[in-house]
C-alpha cells in the first residue's frame, strides 16, 4: 500500500520550498501529544462542534459509496513501460472504470509534476542535503511521533521494521532523479485529470488515494509545486482553485476520511493521529480529538493484535474516552475482518512508484 511515499515526497517538496528556513522554524516541534494539541490550539474540538463549517458541518456527510479496492491490472501496461506508452493506455482504462489505472495515472501525474519542479530548481547539493534529512527523520519517525504514546512492545516492533525493511525500501526511494528521467518524454497530465484520477481511485477504496484525497495532501503538494516552479516557471496548475474538482472535493473529503476510519484502514488511522492532530491538514474540518485518540488506539490494536489500553490517558475527558474506545473497537473489528494490518502503513510509507496501486 502506498500512502506514504506520496506523503513523504510532499514533505520533501515542502522542505525544498521553504528552503530550510521554515524547516528550522518548526523543526522539532509538531505537537506529539494529543493532550498538547488539544489544549494549545483553541478550536471546537472540545465539543466537536461543527460551528459554521460549510457543507461538512451543517449538512450531513454526502452519501458516498466507497468501494472495496481490488487491484485490477489485467490489460494494463507493465509498470516499467515508458510513461509515454502507459499514459494513453491508463487514461483509456480509467475511463472504462479501472481504478487501478486511475490510481497509476494519479501517481504518474503527481510524480512527474513534482519531478519537473524539483529538477529545474534544486542543485545536487540541495537534493543531497534534503535526502539526508529525510533519512534522519525516517529513523526518528516512529519513536518520535507514532509510537511514543504506545506501549514499549509496539515500539520495539516498529523499530525492527524501520531498521530493516523500511530503510531498505528507502534505498529504493523514488528519487526526483529517477522520476525526472522517466518523465522526460511523458506528456504532462493536466491538473484536473490528476485530481479526477485521484478521486476515482479514492472512491474505489484505494487506501493511499483515500488518504491523499481526504486529507488535502494533494492540495498542499500543488501549492509547493507551484512555488518550486519558481518565478517564470510554467505553472501547470493555473486556475486550479477555480476547478469544479475543488467543489467536489469540498463536498466529499470528509466522507472519504470518515469511511477510511470506520473501515479501519491503517493508512487513514495513521494520518488521523499523526498529521491530522496538528490541525494543519484539517483543511475542511477542525480536528476531532476523539477521532485522533481512537485512531491511535486502533492502530496500536492492529500492531498488537489485541485491544490495548483505554484512550483515557490521551487527554480526553472520561466521556470522550469512552466514546473513543467505542469507535476504536468498531474500527479495529472492521480492520480485522478485512485483513488490514499495521504493516500496510509501514509498507506504504516507504514503497514507491506505480506498484503502489497494485
Amino acid at each position: 500500500m502506498k500512502t506514504g511515499h506520496r506523503i513523504t515526497l510532499a514533505a520533501v517538496l515542502l522542505g525544498a520550498a521553504a528552503g530550510g528556513a521554515w524547516w528550522w522554524m518548526v523543526r522539532s516541534s509538531t505537537p506529539t501529544h494529543i493532550e498538547q494539541a488539544a489544549v494549545t490550539v483553541p478550536r471546537a474540538t472540545e465539543t466537536t462542534k461543527p460551528s459554521t463549517m460549510a457543507g461538512t458541518a451543517d449538512s450531513p456527510l454526502p452519501a458516498l459509496t466507497i468501494g472495496e479496492y481490488r487491484p485490477d491490472t489485467a490489460g494494463l501496461p507493465p509498470i516499467d513501460a515508458p510513461l509515454a506508452v502507459q499514459i494513453p493506455a491508463l487514461r483509456d482504462a480509467a475511463a472504462r472504470g479501472n481504478a487501478t489505472a486511475a490510481c497509476r495515472m494519479a501517481v504518474i501525474g503527481s510524480q512527474c509534476r513534482r519531478a519537473r519542479a524539483l529538477g529545474v530548481n534544486l542543485t545536487p547539493g540541495q537534493s543531497a542535503a534534503m535526502m539526508r534529512q529525510i533519512e534522519d527523520s525516517l529513523r526518528e519517525q516512529y519513536a518520535d511521533v507514532s509510537l511514543e504514546r504506545l506501549p514499549e512492545r509496539y515500539r520495539a516492533y516498529a523499530q525492527r521494521r524501520i531498521d530493516t525493511e523500511a530503510l531498505q525500501e528507502f534505498d529504493r526511494f523514488q528519487s526526483p532523479d529517477a522520476w525526472g528521467r522517466r518523465c522526460t518524454d511523458a506528456p504532462p497530465i493536466p491538473h484536473d485529470e490528476i485530481l479526477a484520477a485521484l478521486r476515482q481511485a479514492a472512491l474505489a477504496g484505494e487506501p493511499g488515494s483515500m488518504v491523499q484525497y481526504a486529507s488535502g495532501l494533494w492540495m498542499a503538494e500543488i501549492s509547493i509545486i507551484n512555488f518550486l516552479g519558481g518565478f517564470g516557471g510554467t505553472p501547470s496548475t493555473a486556475g486550479w482553485l477555480r476547478s469544479p474538482g475543488i467543489d467536489q472535493w469540498r463536498r466529499e473529503a470528509a466522507a472519504v476520511r470518515r469511511a477510511g476510519l470506520e473501515r479501519g484502514d491503517p493508512e487513514m488511522l495513521w494520518v488521523e493521529f499523526t498529521l491530522a492532530q496538528t490541525a494543519g491538514l484539517r483543511l475542511l474540518e477542525p480536528t476531532d480529538p476523539i477521532d485522533s485518540a481512537a485512531a491511535l488506539r486502533t492502530y496500536a490494536a492492529l500492531i498488537g493484535g489485541h485491544s490495548p489500553e483505554s484512550t483515557a490517558s490521551l487527554g480526553l475527558t472520561p466521556e470522550q474516552a469512552i466514546e473513543a474506545d467505542r469507535r476504536s473497537d468498531a474500527w479495529a473489528a472492521r480492520a480485522r475482518e478485512r485483513g488490514r494490518r499495521a504493516e500496510d502503513v509501514t509498507d506504504g510509507l516507504f514503497a514507491g512508484g506505480l506498484s503502489a496501486c497494485d
Binding site: 513523504t8 518548526v26 523543526r27 505537537p31 483553541p42 527523520s137 516552479g229 517564470g232 496548475t237 486556475g239
Partner: protein
Amino acid sequence: MRLTARASLLAASGIVVAALTAWWLQRDDVTALLAPEAKAPTRFDADASASPILDKPSDDTDTAKPIALPPKGTPLGRLWATLQAAAQSGESGAACRLAIETVRCVHVARVAETWAASQASEAGELQTLLDFEGAPSSFGRPAPANDPQARGAVNAMTERTRAAARQCEGLSQDRTDIAISLLRAAALAGQPDAQAVYAAGEGWFLTIPGGMGRPEFEQWRREAPMVVARMLDKGHPEAPGLLAGAYSGQTWLGGLYEADLERATAHLILNARLMGRPEMAERQLTKVPAEIKARARQQAEALYIRHYAGRPVDKPSYYLGAGTRILQSGLFEGETEPVPCSPPRAVDSPVPQQ
C-alpha cells in the same frame, strides 16, 4: 513521521511557508532569519468608495467616523470585550482589528507551540540547513549553534513567542468563527489591512482549522480577484505583490488566476520598486525572456504612474509574503508593524493622470 508531520502541517500552513520563504529569499545570512529587517507599515487610505460589485456589510460603514482602536499589545480578550459590538454592527475598523488579531493569534498559538518545543540549536541540523541553502554568505561564518549571537536570537525568539501567546489568551473557536466573517466584511468595506489578508487567502484559510470548509472560502474564490483589483486602484502597497504571486501561479491566490508571465513580471518589478529594492526583482527574473521583461518594465512604469506616483506609499512586503506578513506581528525582533487597522492616514493627493 517527524518531518512529514511537520512538513504537512506547514504545507497547509501556507502563511508560514510564504513568510519564511520571503525571508529566505531576502536573507543575507542565517542569522537574518531570526532578526528580519524591521517591518514596514502597510497603512494607506481606507477605501471609502462603494463598489458596484462588492456587497458591503453596511452602507454607513465607511462614512462613520472611525472609532479609536485600542493600542498595540492589547490582549485579545480585551479587544473582544471592547470591539465586538462595534464590529458586528458594521464598524469596519473594529471588524478589521478583531479579525486580524484573532487570525494572528491562531497562528501565534501554533508557532509558539512549535517553537517552544524546538531544538533549533542542534549543530547537525543547522549544518544541514546551511548545506541546503548553499548560501555563499554563510560560508566561513561560525556555525550558528556555536554563535552566541545566534543563540541569543533563538532565546529571544522563544521569549517573544511566549509573550505573543500570552497576549492571545481569550482565543476560542467561536471567536475564530466570527473573526473570519468579520475579516471578509472589513475587506469588502475597504479596510486596507483586511483587504490584504482576505485577498491573499492562505493566511486565514490555511491557518484556521477547517478554513476551506467555511462559506468564506467559497466567497473568497469569487471575490478575491476583485478585491485585489480594487486595492491596486487605490494604491495599496501590497497589491503588486499579491498580483505578482497570482499571475506567476506561485501563491494560493494564483489558483484563481490564469498564468500571465508578463503581468507577473510587471507587478514583481513594481513590488520591488515600492520596496526600494529593485535588485530583488532582477534576481527573480532569470527565467523571464528578455522581450517579456522589456514589455513588463514598461507596464510596471505605467502601473506606478497610474496608481502610486504622487501618493505616499508605505513599503510593501516581499511579493510572496504579501497579505500575510501582518499576521506575523509580534513574533519578530525589531518589528515596527503598526497597530493593525489603525485609523488610516489621510491621503489627499489625487491620482495623477497620464
